[in-house]
């Protein structure tokens, strides 16, 4: 049988029972659609987080307090829960590590912030001037905390989200005064939005001078972390080792396994995060995949019914000289065309859903080519797998018995 004829036969057969074919294909539409939509949400989250991490700055090392037993344990202990990193450590890095271009010691805490009747609970970062350089921050209004700012002065720079919460969108709040916890602060600037939502956003926070934060909020020399910008990518490993040695010496620890701090670089962070988001995407895809399997079972069910209903036709075709292969191909083609058509519609459907989620759901969604190709391949594969058994049943019918079938 020629392929053109095979396709023609297939479409005639599918169209001869439009309602049933439509409903069966709908199962695949929903299955593929949810896979595409779910994957787009997973991949959107990945893209979000990745861009947030990249926006941290380039060639960055982050020294955090707490034991070093790998990234996982660091996360478990939580940044800043151990009190092993102090301002003099930061100064020592600045003095001794030649490849460290900028060093930004940071303390962070969460406080209630009030402007008039508006209030928000947000992160307060105690930083100095170098923070601006390391994090690639740019100003929307006013200035960042500079070296000329006096020790312990109560000035604040707002992240754009914090500004929106307190003053409203696009307002220039420079010169206004806000209350952080019980202290009055004067707003001296607003940073530009760095984009990204949710996890790791650098927009929803307030910067104050490091000394101010230590004096009024954390009450000690303890740091939450130290960000170190290294001169070049090639020097990252050297710098990491040098800082490690320096801090071990300062903390009087001889066994590096017992270090009370950890040093992470961007790619470490990226690895951790992408393994988490990868698992998330897979999980979402797998949940959606279940509906795809249900759709495939629907196809198989319909094809089995079709084969039974058309037993006589199969007998006739065999009597006219159709071979096993001809019959197999005919029924296999029907299920493949159904699933592929359902799959293509499903891709558009999933795309539309992910667009709607992105637009109205305050979530980033990304429909990638790979997820489209994957869905398309999966739908054709499902047609093949779930269509094979009914098609083989049809092909193995005995022509005499098939012709006598009532």
């Amino acid at each position: 049988m020629l392929y053109r004829d095979l396709l023609e036969e297939t479409f005639l057969a599918i169209l001869s029972n439009k309602v049933r074919s439509g409903l069966t294909a709908l199962g695949i539409v929903i299955g593929i659609g949810s896979v595409v939509a779910m994957m787009s949400i997973g991949q959107g989250a990945t893209a979000d987080i990745t861009s947030n991490i990249q926006s941290l700055g380039s060639n960055l090392l982050i020294v955090s307090p707490g034991s070093q037993g790998g990234v996982g344990s660091n996360v478990r202990q939580g940044q800043g829960s151990a009190q092993t990193l102090v301002l003099s450590d930061s100064d020592a890095i600045k003095e001794n590590i030649s490849s460290a271009v900028s060093v930004a010691p940071t303390v962070s805490t969460k406080k209630q912030v009030i402007y008039k009747t508006n209030n928000t609970n947000t992160s307060i970062y105690g930083v100095d001037a170098e923070y601006l350089v390391i994090k690639n921050l740019e100003m929307e209004f006013g200035n960042f905390i500079s070296d000329s700012v006096k020790r312990n002065s109560r000035v604040a720079v707002l992240g754009p989200t914090a500004r929106d919460d307190l003053f409203g969108e696009n307002v220039d709040p420079v010169g206004e005064s806000i209350k952080i916890d019980t202290q009055k602060f004067t707003v001296i600037g607003v940073t530009q939005a760095k984009g990204g939502t949710g996890f790791g956003s650098s927009d929803d926070l307030i910067y104050i001078p490091l000394t101010t934060a230590q004096t009024y909020f954390t009450g000690s020399e303890v740091l939450s972390n130290i960000s170190v910008q290294v001169e070049s990518e090639e020097l990252m490993v050297v710098a990491q080792n040098e800082i490690n040695t320096l801090l071990l010496e300062r903390h009087k620890i001889s066994n590096s396994e017992e270090a009370d701090f950890s040093i992470m670089n961007q790619s470490d962070i990226m690895d951790t995060v992408s393994s988490v988001t990868g698992a998330l995407t897979l999980l979402l895809g797998a949940i959606a995949g279940i509906s795809l399997v249900v759709g495939g079972i629907g196809i198989m069910n319909m094809m089995l019914t079709t084969v039974t209903e058309r037993t006589r036709e199969i007998g006739l075709r065999k009597s006219l000289g159709a071979k096993r292969k001809d019959i197999t191909m005919q029924f296999l083609m029907e299920s493949i065309v159904l699933t592929v058509v359902g799959g293509v519609i499903g891709i558009f459907f999933g795309w539309a859903v992910s667009w709607l989620v992105g637009k109205f759901g305050d979530m980033t969604t990304v429909v990638t080519f790979s997820s489209i190709f994957l869905s398309f391949g999966v739908s054709a594969f499902i047609g093949l797998v779930f269509g094979y058994y009914p098609a083989r049943n049809a092909a193995s019918l005995n022509p005499i018995e098939a012709l006598r079938y009532e």
Partner: protein, 238 residues
């Protein structure tokens, strides 16, 4: 062109055995019009299935055009059917909701013939059974029984097979329509087609030039009906 040598067919279902054919031997030459007659259960359909290469005998040999096809595989038999046999069934077996033309074209699709040529052949076959052009694009289920059976005959003819096998072709038709179908077979036979007609009615068998009578799976009579068949009125009328 057809030679059956000591053909037997035994159906086994569980412990029960049915001997549908017992040591049947006969020859049919090209251009003959043979009726196979016998009571229900006498083995007519079983014999037709073997002659039509739908089934193989349990014992004995079946030669079609000189080659033994009694032990071919399923797909090899399909090839024989495609090239040499045209079937006409009691219940027509047309594809429903499918045009007359497409029904007739169907065997040629399996021959991988190109579209233009096969439609030409289908039209020719339909004209050969006196079906008017108006009906070519009607759906098969919109036709009358007589028209359906003529479409089925056209389908059997379209690939120009050596043998037309018809199992009770008039069984679902009234006698007047049945006569038209029989006349179609007689005309085809006059043009040189070998026709094997299976029936349980003597009156229908009388149209054939040779009558083979089966009883309990055995041939009990092989009768030359040539002279008598010419006296049947339907032949004189046209």
């Amino acid at each position: 062109m057809i030679e059956c040598k000591n053909i037997s067919k035994t159906y086994k279902s569980g412990a029960a055995e049915t001997k549908a054919l017992k040591n049947v031997s006969f020859k049919i030459k090209e251009g003959e019009f043979v009726a196979i007659i016998g009571q229900s259960g006498s083995g007519k359909s079983t014999l037709m299935n073997i002659i039509g290469a739908l089934d193989v005998p349990s014992n004995g040999s079946y030669f079609l055009d000189g080659s033994d096809i009694s032990s071919l595989s399923e797909d090899e038999l399909a090839d024989i059917r495609k090239k040499k046999i045209g079937f006409v069934f009691q219940s027509f077996n047309l594809l429903k909701r499918t045009s007359v033309l497409r029904n007739v074209v169907l065997p040629l699709i399996y021959e991988e013939m190109d579209k233009k040529k096969r439609e030409e052949l289908a039209r020719k076959a339909l004209r050969g059974v006196d079906l008017s052009e108006d009906h070519f694009f009607h759906l098969s289920n919109q036709l009358s029984g007589g028209q359906m059976q003529r479409v089925a005959i056209a389908r059997a003819l379209v690939n120009d097979p050596a043998i037309i096998l018809a199992d009770e072709p008039t069984g679902n038709l009234d006698s007047k329509t049945g006569d038209i179908i029989l006349k179609t077979f007689i005309d085809l036979n006059k043009k040189g087609k070998t026709i094997i007609l299976i029936t349980h009615e003597q009156s229908i068998a009388e149209y054939a030039s040779r009558i083979i009578t089966l009883k309990d799976g055995e041939i009990i009579e092989d009768f030359d009906n040539n002279e008598k068949s010419k006296l049947i009125p339907i032949l004189k009328n046209k």
